[in-house]
């Protein structure tokens, strides 16, 4: 298998790095949540991609069975849970951001920290 043959990994890694980069480099809290989402999505894609079996079909048993190769259904199911977790995280994060905006009048992390410092 050559390097390009693992293209699904490259996509995952690229997405992950983009997500992490946004987390590290952006001060805007909403953007941070977006970065977090991209980061999570990359992992979900990773799980789903490893479930793919070459030549496999959707894991629905046809009537009467038959000699069919299926993709692994388990990761998809697990990722449903992970997506739920992701949604919950995003929801909670956004709710906190709303409150932060009410309390500080800003959602830029550096400005918020500056205000906190001033309060000390």
């Amino acid at each position: 298998m050559n390097i390009l043959g693992l293209w699904n990994y490259w996509i995952v890694i690229a997405l992950m790095m983009i997500g992490l980069y946004i987390l590290i480099a952006r001060e805007n809290l909403v953007k941070k949540v977006m970065g977090l989402n991209i980061f999570q999505v990359s992992v979900i894609m990773f799980w789903v991609s490893i479930a793919k079996v070459r030549g496999g079909t959707a894991p629905i048993v046809p009537e009467g069975g038959g000699d069919v190769i299926y993709s692994n259904p388990l990761p998809h199911v697990l990722m449903l849970t992970a997506i739920v977790v992701g949604v919950a995280t995003t929801g909670l994060g956004l709710a906190l951001i709303v409150r932060i905006h009410e309390a500080y009048g800003s959602i830029e992390e550096d400005q918020v920290r500056e205000m906190d410092r001033a309060e000390e």
Binding site: L20, L23, L29, K32, V33, L36, F39, Q40, V43, F46, W47, I50, P75, L78, T81, A82, V85, A88, T89, L92, G93, L96, I97, R99, I100, A103, Y104, E109, V112, R113, D116, E119
Partner: protein, 491 residues
């Protein structure tokens, strides 16, 4: 009925959480939540007794047998952690909520209890389950409710603290998820026991190395191991004291449990300590955590922040025990898990008591409280002695094992550092005591102690630090058994 105890352990608080929302009436909800939590403690204790008496318990959730189904597996290690979590939860939940520390009004206190029970369910679930993906799910349940609990703090900085915790916790959780995915990719199983058998043949592959790195870093974030501890100080400082008490005593401890489980059961001693040589990185980081955490604690002006930094140092002790990778060291780490839970849980409750009488958690505002709130402050002194590790308190027991473990490895320097950082603990504890007892007050303050309903839970934990400092059978005895079980024939 009794055979379903493992399922009930998590199902009970999980189902009780929405019930809280339905009940709504604060007094009613409180009684209900207390009852539920105490039942959890009863279940945990009976599980521990069962395990000590008859060995491991395996419970197939929904009748689906492992490795396909989700297995709840209770052995001596997680029975021990379950008891700690349930104990702390039982005490903390009985502690009266103070309106001035929470941003929600009294008529919405039921939300607090719902979140608390959810968090408890998550923590118990992480501990009891024998399935890696299940660990991730419960971890997220407990973490999400913990973020919200922190955000309940009255100070607006609680919001930013909660948000930081959320982002970092999610990064940690996602790292863990990647790790689990990689492991699954290599073995096709998520069951821990199954994994421990299927993993050894593929341990040499890069995928497993990757999985290892992601899992360790992920749990390190949840554990607040140095230098990934940055979410912790603000979360504990600005979150309600009761929440800080609960989380400091349980959340990081459960994460430590996960780390131990991963390293010793899943990857195995030989891989972790001989091929990867985890200690080469973890040991120095632990030492730095001990020193930096203690030093930072010395300079804090806010007592909650001081305790939070002290937690970082104490977590350093626990990871130190782990990285020593011998019987005494691991026993020390595990026993410190329990002991520090008691101490720090108790100390944050002391702060909660104090905050029922003074406005601000700044250390200056504790001036003269030694006379005004003698019982509360006596509890602080006892807990502080525990942090220092005076013989007769639990802290001494942990440090004793850690030092023995270090000496056993010939690491005299490490043993020295353990003792030296105790000296630092003397300093930061003393700073508070000095303000409380030795400040010149013009007028002798009126005696005005916290109500009994607050003092009682506080003293239960603080008293336990003394009790378990003297009677070490349950803690050190069980921890040593658990350590021996984890190390197997490895050392």
């Amino acid at each position: 009925m009794t055979e379903h105890l493992p399922a009930l352990q998590t199902a009970l608080p999980l189902l009780a959480a929405p019930v809280c929302v339905l009940l709504r009436r604060a007094a009613l909800v409180r009684v209900f939540a207390v009852l539920v939590t105490w039942s959890c403690l009863a279940i945990a204790l009976s599980l521990l007794q069962e395990v000590l008496g008859h060995g491991e318990i395996s419970y197939a959730l929904g009748g689906w047998v492992a490795p396909l189904g989700i297995e709840y597996r209770v052995d001596i290690l997680n029975a021990y952690v379950l008891v700690l979590v349930a104990t702390i939860a039982s005490v903390v939940i009985a502690f009266p909520l103070a309106g001035r520390e929470l941003r929600i009004p009294k008529e919405r206190f039921f939300l607090f209890y719902a979140l608390f029970l959810l968090c408890l369910a998550g923590l118990l679930g992480i501990t009891i389950t024998g399935d890696l993906f299940n660990i991730f799910v419960f971890l997220e349940i407990s973490s999400l409710s913990a973020y919200a609990l922190i955000g309940l703090g009255r100070d607006r900085r609680a919001l930013t603290a909660g948000f930081s915790y959320l982002v970092m916790g999610t990064i940690g959780g996602t790292f863990i998820l990647i790790g689990i995915g990689l492991v699954y990719q290599m073995t096709g199983t998520l069951n821990i026991v199954d994994l421990s058998q299927r993993l050894p043949p593929v341990l040499g592959t890069r995928t497993v190395w990757m999985a290892f790195a992601f899992l360790v870093v992920g749990t390190s974030i949840k554990l607040a191991a140095f230098p990934l501890h940055q979410w912790l100080p603000n979360a504990y400082t600005y979150g309600p004291s009761v929440v800080a008490s609960f989380l400091s005593a349980t959340a990081t401890k459960v994460a430590y449990y996960v780390l131990v489980r991963l390293l010793f059961t899943v990857f195995g001693f030989a891989f972790v300590f001989e091929r990867v040589q985890l200690s080469a990185l973890l040991l120095p980081l632990s030492l730095i955590a001990m020193v930096v955490g203690s030093l930072a604690a010395i300079y804090q002006t806010n007592i909650k922040r001081l305790l939070a930094y002290s937690s970082i140092a104490q977590i350093g002790y626990m990871t130190l025990g782990l990285s020593l990778a011998n019987l005494d060291g691991l026993t020390g780490g595990l026993v410190h898990l329990f002991n520090h839970g008691l101490i720090k849980g108790g100390l944050f409750l002391v702060v909660a008591c104090a905050l029922s009488r003074v406005e601000s958690p700044r250390i200056e505002s504790l001036r003269g409280l030694g006379k005004r709130m003698p019982w509360t402050m006596a509890a602080f002194v006892v807990g502080g002695l525990g942090l220092i590790g005076i013989p007769g308190t639990v802290g001494f027991v942990s440090k004793w094992y850690l030092v023995l473990g270090a000496l056993d490895q010939g690491l005299y320097f490490v043993a020295f550092m353990v003792l030296a950082s105790s000296l630092l603990a003397v300093v930061y504890v003393w700073r508070v005591i000095e303000v409380m007892y030795f400040s010149d007050e013009e007028r002798a303050p009126e005696r005005d102690d916290a109500p009994l309903s607050m003092l009682l839970p506080t003293w239960v934990l603080i008293g336990a630090t003394i009790y378990f400092g003297l009677d070490t059978e349950l803690t050190a005895g069980v921890a040593e058994q658990a350590a021996a079980y984890l190390l197997g024939g490895a050392s």
